[in-house]
Amino acid sequence: MISLHLPALQVVVPLISAPLCVLLRRGFGAWLLATVIAWTAFAISLALLAQVLSDGALSYKMGGWAAPWGIEYRIDRLNAFMLVIVAGIGALVMPCAYHSVAREIAPERQHLFYAAFMLALTGLLGIVITGDVFNLYVFLEITSLASYTLVALGADRRALRASFQYLVLGTIGATFILIGIGLLYMVTGTLNMADLAARIPALQELRPVRAAFAFIVVGAGLKLALFPLHLWLPNAYTYAPSVVSAFLAATATKVGVYVLMRFIFTVFGARFAFEMMPLGEILMVLGLLAVMVGSLVAVFQTNVKRMLAYSSIAQIGYMALGISFASVNGLVAGIVHLFNHAAMKGALFLALACVFYRLGSVELDAMRGLGRRMPLTMATFVAAGMSLVGVPLTVGFISKWYLVVAAIESGLWPVAVIVLVASLLALVYIWRVVEVAYFREPDGDAPEVTEAPAAMLVPTMALAAACIYFGIDTELTVGVATEAALSLLEGGP
């Protein structure tokens, strides 16, 4: 009985927990509830993935209303996989949150933090699970509003500025998506993705359809921080509380990429997007620019969190690049990298959360000699960093391999070269941290610090372990990504 309603529970459970967090009025209680809920959501997502892998795509009618009129939750391989990523990161971040939040956020605001966190989780899960474009917009805004709040809770006052900037750009992005949805509704009279996909091919010559496509791509581009629409991201990630950076970096932009993929391939169809509209060329150019500019800027940062934020922009460029090839291998690269990047950025930001918990700073200079004082944390950082560079036997290598294979398949040698060169830039910025942490002695007046508490360390190491495990055993990730890519290219959800 319950298993029938898993799709609804996936969203409803965290949604209900949010007001409960507020009612609990105590940091610890709210944390406990949020942690339990996050793990429940993770369990649900795993159950859904198992169902989808064994029985194929699921369709759930919200409130029992039939599909084109009511809201349909539709779960295929792609979004089942996404659900696992989002819920999994949420579940791993929560144990870390207790110590980190206790240090960074005033006691009277802590329960509110967890409430906002649960709302953000709800929204992200909702975006991924829904098969209705307007519902997607609503969930998008739920996540966004919760994220603005979460970012604003950062200790530095610049967090407020970052949050406002994020709010303005995020709202513009969401409104663009809203306009696009409106235009689509105008010509098709439906909001259901499957319905839209069936009707658009006959209407694709119409100008509103093309305008809708442009609005949605730009709106999604803002949400996923595609260069040059990334301006909100560096500040937001730098000044947000540590666990929020970890959670958002690992999930929010990925969900943005998912939205883009969903609209391009499922709603509009690859033929429309790549043959009638010049999306391939645009995404390729922007993706390459993102990869180069993001990596280059990251090299020159002295705040490690900001460095990782710019690195995220570059990594999003890789995903855009993967989509731009519109080939199986390209899409596999994009989808696998969604997962891989979530794991490695999650691990990196959580490692920084540990560092911040002990040091109170994530400036490069403050991290001198940290390899000796916080060996496990820094080892985790190095492992995840290696992944980012794309060293063999880590997840980054897998993504890179598919991306370069896709580029060479399409005969785009220069693209392959740029991808590889950019991974060297990743090496440069990761190595700056390694060098400081392992081969510099701390200042005389540096505070004596010890390893971070186990509650923070274990999830961080689990994510780093995932970076290595899924770099060796790729059956699950590549398998799911390949099937998802095939079904996306065939069109239809």
């Binding site: 290696m386 560079v389 794309g390 060293v391 063999p392 036997l393 897998i398 890179k400 391999w401 370069v404 294979v405 060479i408 398949e409 392959a416 070269v417 590889l420 060169v421 991974s423 060297l424 090496l427 440069v428 190595w431 060098e435 392992y438 081969f439 510099r440 002695e441 060796i472 055993d473 790729t474 059956e475 590549v478």
Partner: protein, 502 residues
């Protein structure tokens, strides 16, 4: 134990050793005993594979599938056998040497040193046994990363800068060119398996063969073909045992080994001979041989001199492989072994001089041979081997290379080999001469502050280095001579390689 099990155990042994070393980090004696024991066990495992390989067997095992169609697998063939034998044997000697050196110089972070050393050896064995390009690439990168902490060991500004150059060039070339070449090969050939006769024949157009060859030769930066040789002198900031085993044997040999392996098993000699491209390979390698020798001629720092000499000697192997003649290929294979033994002896000697007399410059070595007869005697043998004079191993390998060059009638290669021999003599012989026949400038006064307990001098104050060091360098020098007198096993393996590929 079946050969497949041994294959898997071989790279796991140093890993297990590394764990044990970490566990015994508070007890240096235990830790060093573990190092030695691990090295001996590894050599035993590798050597146990020899009879089967010599009999023509090719033990093989798969241990993972990274991506559909891309497996991680080991397969021993003659070239890898030789490389693994040399590296694992010299690890025993180097471990012994390290103990004397690290204690004698009171180095810091010794546990880290031994652990990464073991990891580097695990990666080396992985490279030697790799059955396909992917496995080779994986271990190749692992070797680069495992050796970085050893290069930057001292943590000084100079060491960090050296480490940056090291990592930058090695990872830069491997990711920028090597990986690209691997992926293109995969795209074109549909397989990455090393197979006799090559996998690209009939699948890649001639222009692509040329491009790929360039990508491989320059992408395998560990082979130190100019202009990507800068990492090797930069790595000389590392402690001497690292320079000796890794930057004279394991790492650089991994480079030339990979190049030879790619030439033989990915391209195939026939494909390359049929395409117009390999001519330039001879020239590039020849240029490196001569240019590096000229630079070595001008070095005053002993380790830097040895480093440039290594750059030069490595390109012999590339040059010999580029000649595409079976005899030259035998020379290339032999040279991997011969140069390993000779160069490690030279580095051991340099470290011995540093430990006993704290001298690092060539100009300071006047008369030191009388104080350190064992060390400088070994040095002389190593130097003869580098020049290629009998009775040392270097003579045998150079002989085959010359024969190979004459076989294909490549007079340029002949000239390069002869000129560089003269150059080698020009920078090595004066050192030997000065050490034995010139009077000492400043006889040793008080022992320096860095002299630790390890400096239980063999011949009293101002004498030779600690016993482990002397034993180690005597062993390698002896082997250099022995390989000249009994090159049978190495020739057998090289002969097999040539036979199977034609």
């Amino acid at each position: 134990m079946s050969a497949a099990t041994v294959l898997l155990l071989a790279p796991l042994t140093p890993l297990a050793g590394a764990v044990l070393m970490w566990l015994s980090r508070r007890r240096p004696n235990v830790r060093e005993a573990v190092t030695l024991a691990t090295a001996v066990v590894l050599f035993g495992l590798v050597a146990s594979l020899y009879p089967e390989v010599a009999a023509g067997g090719r033990p093989k095992t798969e241990f993972g599938e990274l991506l559909p169609g891309l497996v991680l697998a080991f397969e021993v063939e003659p070239l890898g056998m030789l490389f693994a034998l040399v590296s694992s044997f010299l690890w025993i000697v180097t471990s012994l040497y390290s103990i004397g050196y690290m204690r004698g110089n009171n180095e810091a972070h010794q546990t880290r040193f031994y652990i990464y050393f073991a990891l580097a050896l695990a990666a080396t064995v992985g490279i030697a046994f790799a059955a396909n390009l992917l496995t080779l690439f994986v271990f190749y990168e692992a070797l680069t990363i495992a050796t970085y902490p050893l290069v930057a060991h001292h943590g000084t500004e100079e060491a960090r800068a050296g480490g940056r150059t090291y990592l930058g060039i090695l990872l830069g070339t491997s990711i920028g060119f090597f990986l690209l070449a691997v992926i293109v090969t995969w795209n074109v050939a549909g397989t990455l398996e090393f197979s006799p006769g090559g996998i690209l024949a009939g699948k890649a157009p001639p222009w692509l063969v040329g491009v790929l060859l360039a990508l491989y030769v320059f992408g395998i930066g560990k082979a130190a073909v100019m202009p990507f040789h800068r990492w090797l002198p930069a790595a000389m900031v590392a402690p001497v045992p690292v320079s000796a085993l890794l930057h004279a044997v394991a790492v650089v040999k991994a480079g030339v080994f990979s190049v030879v392996k790619v030439v033989v098993y990915v391209f195939g000699l026939d494909l390359l001979a049929a395409s117009p491209s390999p001519e330039w390979l001879v020239y590039v390698a020849g240029f490196t041989v001569i240019a590096a020798s000229l630079i070595a001629l001008r070095q005053n720092n002993l380790k830097l001199l040895l480093a440039y000499s290594t750059v030069s000697q490595l390109s012999y192997v590339i040059l010999a492989a580029g000649l595409l003649s079976p005899l030259a290929l035998v020379g290339a294979v032999l040279h991997i072994g011969a140069h390993a033994l000779g160069k490690i002896t030279l580095f051991f000697a340099a470290g011995s001089i540093y430990t006993a007399a704290h001298k690092t410059e060539v100009s300071q070595l006047d008369g030191i041979g009388r104080r350190m007869p064992w060390t400088m005697g070994a040095f002389a043998i190593g130097a003869l081997s580098m020049i290629g004079l009998p009775p040392t191993a270097g003579f045998v390998s150079k002989w085959y290379m010359l024969l190979g060059a004459l076989q294909v009638g490549n007079m340029v290669a002949v000239a390069i080999i002869i000129v560089s021999t003269l150059l080698n003599a020009a920078y090595f012989l004066p050192i030997v001469y000065a050490a034995f026949f010139k009077p000492e400038a400043n006889p040793p006064a008080e022992p320096g502050p860095a002299h630790g307990r390890g400096r239980v001098a063999l011949h009293g104050e101002g004498g030779d280095a600690p016993p482990p060091i002397v034993i180690a360098l005597t062993v390698t020098a002896t082997l250099t001579v022995l390989l000249f007198l009994f090159p049978g096993a190495a020739l057998e393996l090289a002969g097999q390689l040539v036979e199977k590929t034609r």
